[in-house]
């Protein structure tokens, strides 16, 4: 770590006998509230060596009594945090189930869209229709739907769909958009029975074809 950071004290600041820089040497504190020990080490470095890294260990810090006492200062915190590191981890599955039960009971209907029957009052919630048409778009390889909205056309049951997509760049975009449009139109007619007259598609994001997520870090491709 020490070699990478921009504010690392240069190695030449060590005293000739290697026991540490003379006080006032080039070990400039990197942080405004950092503390310099009597033997010229930064408190932040001492703590980092104690808690964070096994690399580039400063042998002085490991042996000097001042530095070791400074490192000891963190021991109460470290001990108290043991329970947070290793204790009971609350269960995610039960929690996820409870959350989804509540969510499903409160499902957002959004606007109601007419199904294509002029003689009966038959409607479908926009969220339900959007879900089906998004899945139709998702069935096209290299495409994933984002938003799916509906706009009434005229006074009757006709509708226009406006969809945004993430698309992969391994094929020309117009081809992919065309495929998505066909899939959506087909689903609107054959799965739902909606009178969709047009499908407007905008590609808003690039789809990365990634291997499955590794556990742990940065989900969402960040």
């Amino acid at each position: 770590m020490a070699v990478d950071e921009p504010h690392a004290p240069p190695p030449e600041s060590l005293g000739a006998d290697g026991t540490g820089p003379k006080p006032g040497a080039a070990d400039v504190p990197s942080f405004a509230d950092d503390v310099v020990t009597p033997c010229g080490r930064l408190l932040s470095r001492i703590w980092e060596q104690a808690r964070d890294t096994a690399q580039a260990a400063d042998p002085h810090i490991s042996s000097c009594p001042h530095c070791r006492e400074a490192a000891e200062g963190l021991s109460a915190v470290t001990a108290a945090s043991q329970a947070l590191r290793t204790g009971d981890r609350p269960g995610l599955e039960a929690l996820a189930d409870r959350v989804m039960n509540i969510v499903r009971a409160e499902v957002r209907l959004g606007r109601l869209l007419p199904l294509a029957d002029p003689d009966r009052a038959l409607r479908i919630a926009e969220s339900a229709a959007a879900k089906v048409l998004r899945q139709a778009a998702d069935r096209v390889p290299g495409a994933r739907a984002a938003a799916c909205r509906f706009v009434p056309v005229g006074d009757g049951v006709d509708l226009r769909v406006t969809m945004t997509l993430a698309a992969a760049l391994d094929r020309p975009l117009p081809d992919r958009i065309h495929q998505v449009r066909r899939s959506v139109l087909r689903s609107a007619g054959q799965d739902l029975g909606l009178a969709v007259t047009a499908v407007d598609i905008t590609v808003v994001d690039v789809l990365e074809q990634e291997p499955p997520c590794r556990p742990g870090l940065t989900p969402g491709g960040a």
Binding site: D33, R51, E106, C148, A166, R186, A222
Partner: protein
């Protein structure tokens, strides 16, 4: 006529498992609860760790994170994507924990805590009253830290991430991460003074 039906392998993620957070959030905001379920699976674990650090016990942590997710579901239509979804969820969770803390009775002092049983309900060796109180003091102090400092401390000390990983998650430089970590440790060391 082009046949657009495609056979799918089970893990292909038509349920959204491979979609980025932002996309899932858009879908969930329109009522797609399956997209929201993926977000819960992805972010539940780190949020539970965060809540546990702020509240001190797993049961309260579960309650806080459950409330946070339900609140997020209701507020998704207003979420403007100016912050990343996980940052937005983090904020909601922290606020929920702070609200819950204010309603708690204050932690027992050392002389009023009864000595607990030898093992707890899960068969883990029980900790002494003093250890419990020390952890409670740490949790209280964590709650008072600046948000950025607290996050860096939890990611480093509880979740074991490296500086590089932390800088990734928090979208800041490693130098900034180290600075926050240092300040967090200073504040916590001061707060834990009586437990030396």
């Amino acid at each position: 006529m082009i046949d657009t039906a495609v056979a799918l392998s089970p893990g292909r993620g038509l349920g959204g498992r491979d979609l980025p957070d932002g996309l899932l959030a858009v879908r969930a905001a329109e009522g797609d609860e399956e997209a929201f379920a993926v977000l819960v699976q992805r972010h539940g674990r780190p949020l539970l760790d965060l809540a546990r650090c702020m509240l001190g016990n797993p049961q309260d942590a579960e309650e806080a994170v459950q409330d946070a997710f339900v609140s997020a579901w209701r507020r998704l239509p207003e979420y403007r994507h100016s912050a990343e979804f996980h940052t937005w969820m983090h904020r909601i969770t922290v606020n929920r924990c702070l609200t819950m803390r204010h309603r708690r009775p204050p932690p027992l002092s050392l002389d009023t805590v009864a000595e607990p049983a030898a093992t707890d309900a899960w068969g883990q060796p029980a900790r002494s009253a003093e250890q419990e109180a020390a952890t409670a003091a740490l949790v209280r102090a964590l709650g008072e830290l600046d948000t950025g400092q607290r996050l860096c401390w939890i990611l480093r000390e509880v979740q074991g991430l490296s500086y590089k990983q932390i800088s990734h998650v928090t979208r800041s430089s490693e130098q900034a991460v180290r600075g926050r970590l240092f300040r967090a440790r200073r504040s916590l060391q001061e707060a834990m003074g009586p437990w030396r």
